[in-house]
């Protein structure tokens, strides 16, 4: 209804637009003359709900009853974690003290050979080469020991996260109400609340053990697995289900023997996501007790050892890329078929060879130290080069960076910030509600209004506005950079390859690594925060644009060529409009990525919600952290829902447009 009013102008009076104008005008007026309705402009302090304090008190009170259960749980998880750490990193000492005899850890040569073999088994030579070079990097650059500690954490997190996600996903699939009222809201929160916010309660509950970072990591990395599971099960064709029912399967058989195997490709995408997110958490996990690469990155950067930090950070990236490619190859690999009766060693040649090499090299390691640990003579470091490079740039080009920074601050950042800080809270809430109503219905209007009003209710309005300002500008810049890059990538093959490497690196290299050089060149403040956010948030803008343009049906492009369109016309008139819904989803993801970087921006001194969460963390204040975290989550969810509704509306409109064009 509203669609037609907006697009065709068939009605004489465009009420929708008049509504927008009226609301905007009223909001602006309130913003300029704060005296008009003081309580609508600045949220009155006495109205602030003391939710944070109540949560802290409640949490502390319930701690004694909860702790025995959570501690028992962490003791159970400790067993596989200890095993993995022993296997990959530390060996199994047979007595107390550092000199006690021990069963050795796996040999580094054996592990490199094993991952190369896995790569070969699933993905042929190419994947084998990637796995080999990534793991060789760890050895050659002296990162082997911390990397194996990190790998041990990953080796436990991923199965736990994947299985937990699978079970929750299955339960959600079987019970749609449970799905829409419990699982989905919980996932939305887990994916948008900054990890720092739930670290404090997790520390209280599970204690300072190596299991605590594991639990925090699983909480962070599991949601995509749940989503992938429900999606995969819904996508299993009805015929297959019916076949199972006809064959007389029980409910459990139907699930385990029929549904899950046929859903395997999508499930493996979920597993892949769990792996990547696990590696994303490495730094934060190291703040609460995880050993490994994350701690090394933090420690190096605290001491201004940029080169060392970069090498450790790239080790995380190397690990991520190797595991990503291996798991993708495993997801795509087709199971080989054998005649019945083929002996085991014929069916699993890679597996047996890999195990044999691991055993042999590890045994050799007990006699030859070079097999047990990477010999120090073999390692190299490029750290001085990086330190020198940063120094050279700093000494020679600082003035240019300073000029750019001042320009950005004075002409773009500060004006937007001031505008948003003067925005009356009631106006913002009403605008959000109106947008929700125009884009979909009353339900969305209520939701948007509630979510936007929450920061005001708990007295964090100003910090929320600074958050909005940073994320908004970062999202705009990310789109201005990312969408054109995505378009270029669809038209040039070599550029596409380059961008893949760059995007992978940006997504997995911990931001801390480039944060320090950026601080050196741009000083502490909002510009540095902005650069850190954009470096991360630009990735979905690129990826979704490529995806959107690639999925434009080829026959439409052929039709455009047949009618004599130029390349430019095809792009502007056919590809981009049809890719718009995907691009809008990309923008949506860009905003969510930007919000997820708030934790990092807090570390460069912004005064936003991220800082509030960070303060809560350092003050061990459960309630304060949760409330600030919820504010971030609610802003993210509001933006997400509104943009999705917008994208859907576009899609519906395009559906009509496309059909008309074809007719």
């Amino acid at each position: 209804m509203t669609d037609t009013a907006l697009t065709s102008g068939s009605r004489p009076i465009p009420w929708g637009r008049i509504g927008w104008l009226l609301l905007l005008g009223a909001t602006l007026a309130l913003g300029i003359w704060h005296g008009l309705l003081p309580w609508a402009a600045d949220y009155p302090k006495p109205w602030v709900l003391p939710l944070a304090k109540q949560i802290t008190t409640l949490f502390k009170a319930s701690l004694d009853t909860l702790m025995p259960a959570t501690r028992a749980f962490s003791a159970v998880l400790q067993v596989p974690l200890d095993f993995a750490i022993g296997l990959f990193a530390k060996g199994f000492p047979l007595g107390p003290g550092p000199d006690a005899p021990a069963i050795p850890r796996l040999s580094w040569i054996g592990i490199i050979a094993a991952v190369t073999l896995i790569g070969h088994a699933y993905g042929g030579r190419k994947v084998a080469a990637i796995a080999f070079f990534c793991f060789a990097y760890l050895a050659v650059f002296g990162q082997w020991n911390p990397a194996m500690l990190t790998l041990a954490l990953v080796a436990v997190c991923v199965p736990v996260g994947a299985l937990l996600g699978l079970f929750i996903g299955v339960a959600a699939y079987r019970n749609p109400r449970f799905d829409s009222y419990v699982v989905r809201p919980a996932l939305d929160l887990l994916q948008t609340v900054p990890a720092f916010a739930y670290i404090i309660p997790i520390l209280f509950l599970f204690g300072f053990t190596p299991v605590t970072p594991l639990i925090a990591t699983v909480a962070f990395a599991m949601p995509p697995m749940v989503r992938a599971t429900t999606l995969a099960l819904h996508r299993v064709p009805a015929e297959i289900q019916e076949f199972g029912a006809m064959a007389g399967c029980t409910r459990a058989q139907l699930l385990w023997r029929i549904l899950l195997p046929s859903a395997k490709p999508t499930l493996m995408i979920g597993v892949n996501q769990v792996i990547m997110l696990t590696l994303n958490m490495v730094i934060i996990a190291s703040m609460i007790g995880a050993e490994g690469l994350g701690f090394d990155v933090l420690f190096a950067l605290r001491n201004q050892k940029i080169g060392v930090g970069l090498e450790a950070g790239l080790a995380i990236t190397a690990l991520a890329i190797a595991l990503d490619r291996l798991s993708q190859a495993a997801a795509e690999a087709k199971p080989a078929l054998y005649r019945p009766g083929t002996p085991f060693h014929r069916r699993h040649p890679h597996l047996l060879l890999g195990l044999a090499i691991l055993a042999a090299t590890t045994l050799l390691g007990t006699f030859l130290p070079a097999f047990a640990a990477v010999p120090p003579e073999m390692t190299v470091t490029t750290a001085p080069v990086w330190d020198g490079l940063v120094k050279w740039i700093n000494v020679n080009f600082f003035d240019y960076f300073e000029a750019l920074r001042t320009f950005l601050l004075i002409w773009i950042l500060n004006p937007v910030k001031l505008t948003l800080l003067n925005l009356p809270w009631l106006g913002a809430v009403l605008l959000a509600a109106y947008a929700g109503w125009r884009l979909r219905d009353k339900g969305l209007a209520m939701l948007a209004a509630g979510l936007i009003a929450f920061p005001a209710l708990v007295g964090l309005w100003d910090k929320a506005m600074i958050t909005v300002y940073l994320c908004f500008i970062a999202a705009v810049i990310s789109c201005l950079i990312g969408i054109p890059l995505g378009v270029v990538a669809t038209r040039s093959r070599w550029f596409d390859r380059v961008q893949q490497v760059v995007v992978d690196t940006l997504q997995t290299l911990p931001s801390f690594v480039y944060l320090i050089p950026v601080v050196m060149l741009f000083r502490v403040g909002d510009v540095t925060a902005l650069i850190a956010i954009v470096a991360f948030a630009v990735t979905p803008a690129i990826r979704y644009t490529i995806h959107g343009i690639r999925q434009v049906p080829p026959h439409l492009i052929e039709a455009a060529i047949a009618t004599g369109c130029t390349r430019g016309q095809i792009l502007w008139r056919v590809q981009l409009p049809l890719a718009l819904p995907e691009i809008m989803l990309g923008i949506n993801q860009t905003i969510l990525f930007a919000l997820s970087m708030l934790v990092i921006t807090a570390l460069v001194g912004t005064r936003d919600l991220g800082q509030e969460v960070y303060i809560a963390l350092t003050k061990v204040d459960t309630g304060r952290g949760i409330i600030a975290g919820l504010c971030v989550a609610f802003l993210g969810i509001a933006a997400d829902r509104l943009l999705r509704a917008g994208a859907e509306r576009f899609r519906r409109r395009l559906g009509i447009a496309a059909r008309a064009g074809m007719g």
């Binding site: 530390k90 605290r302 601080v519 502490v524 460069v604 001194g605 800082q611």
Partner: protein
């Protein structure tokens, strides 16, 4: 970077063998084979202290686990619950509130000062003295506000403060002393040193919050600004000092660095408790050790082993033998 390498190099083995020979294992030590968990923080001094004490305790047969922990969370939750047994560096300057709260729980024990004095104050590199000859006296700051300014703070000077989480009352200090400066808060201390390194490389103006014991005052030549000496009254009583209507018209407090233990440690591992309680360093000793790691590029293991090998008598004294 290879701190966690089990048995890295021969030096550590020989050092440990030395101790093992020197200390006859008494029958009752270790009293419990449960791991003694020591909180490890992410600055060099703390990493060194943790490592040295861990190695000493291990030489007595204890099972020691070094746990990377968040600084304030470790004393807020880790020590009171017994998840952690020891934390060696709680600074008066940054953890005073947290320590006071831990004291009220009765579940932690203050093991006394570590030794080095914590100092935090406004700091500038020596080359800034040419542009601002009146320094280090704080009264000279206003004359050279321009020299310390940047495009967006001019004509005010720019002072780079610590992370807001450190507190420090710099905004209040600027107000109370009528300083023509804008306080910019760094988010983490890594950023403080990034800006310092950047400015120092270019010999550019900078005025910021530094602290010792730390490698920075050793690596960069510079001085502390001299504010009126801190007293408790300065922070509480507006009538005190320069500005009669305002508190905070003085410098930052100095203080000690405290060791904390879980209250149960005393009964569970009495000898380890005794050693931890006696464990102490002087200012100079600590700074020298930190310098060896951060400036000379030695590994933490190496430095810790060398110190232990050279200080056998001291260690025996701590254990009361």
């Amino acid at each position: 970077m290879r701190r966690f390498l089990a048995g890295s190099g021969l030096t550590s083995l020989t050092a440990l063998a030395l101790i093992a020979m020197a200390t006859p294992a008494s029958a009752e030590v270790p009293e419990s084979t449960d791991p003694i968990k020591i909180a490890n923080f992410d600055w060099t001094g703390a990493v060194l202290n943790t490592k040295i004490l861990a190695k000493i305790l291990e030489s007595y047969g204890y099972n020691v686990e070094v746990v990377n922990a968040d600084y304030l969370a470790s004393i807020g939750t880790g020590l009171p619950t017994g998840d952690l047994a020891l934390g060696l560096e709680y600074w008066d300057t940054t953890a005073k509130e947290a320590m006071a709260e831990a004291d009220t729980t009765g579940k932690t024990e203050n093991l006394g000062p570590l030794g080095p004095k914590a100092k935090e104050e406004w700091w500038y590199p020596t080359y800034m003295k040419e542009k601002c000859p009146g320094l280090p006296d704080w009264k000279a700051l206003n004359d050279c506000a321009e020299a310390f300014s940047t495009a967006e703070t001019a004509p005010k000077g720019r002072y780079l403060g610590g992370p807001v989480t450190w507190g420090g009352f710099d905004d209040e200090r600027v107000e109370a002393l009528g300083l023509n400066y804008e306080v910019v808060h760094a988010g983490t201390d890594a950023n403080l040193f990034a800006e310092l390194e950047s400015a120092y490389q270019r010999q550019a103006p900078i005025l910021l919050w530094l602290y010792t014991p730390h490698w920075a005052p050793a690596k960069y030549k510079g001085e502390w600004v001299q504010f009126p000496e801190w007293t408790p009254e300065c922070y509480t009583d507006p009538a005190w000092g320069e500005n009669k209507d305002s508190a905070y018209d003085c410098g930052k407090p100095h203080g000690d660095i405290w060791k904390y233990a879980w209250a149960g440690m005393k009964d569970k591992w009495p000898v380890a408790h005794k050693i931890a309680k006696a464990y102490q360093f002087s200012d100079d000793e600590m700074n020298a050790l930190i310098g060896q790691v951060d400036l000379d590029g030695k590994s933490v293991d190496e430095v810790a082993d060398a110190w232990i090998a050279a200080n056998q008598d001291k260690i025996k004294g701590w254990a009361g033998q």
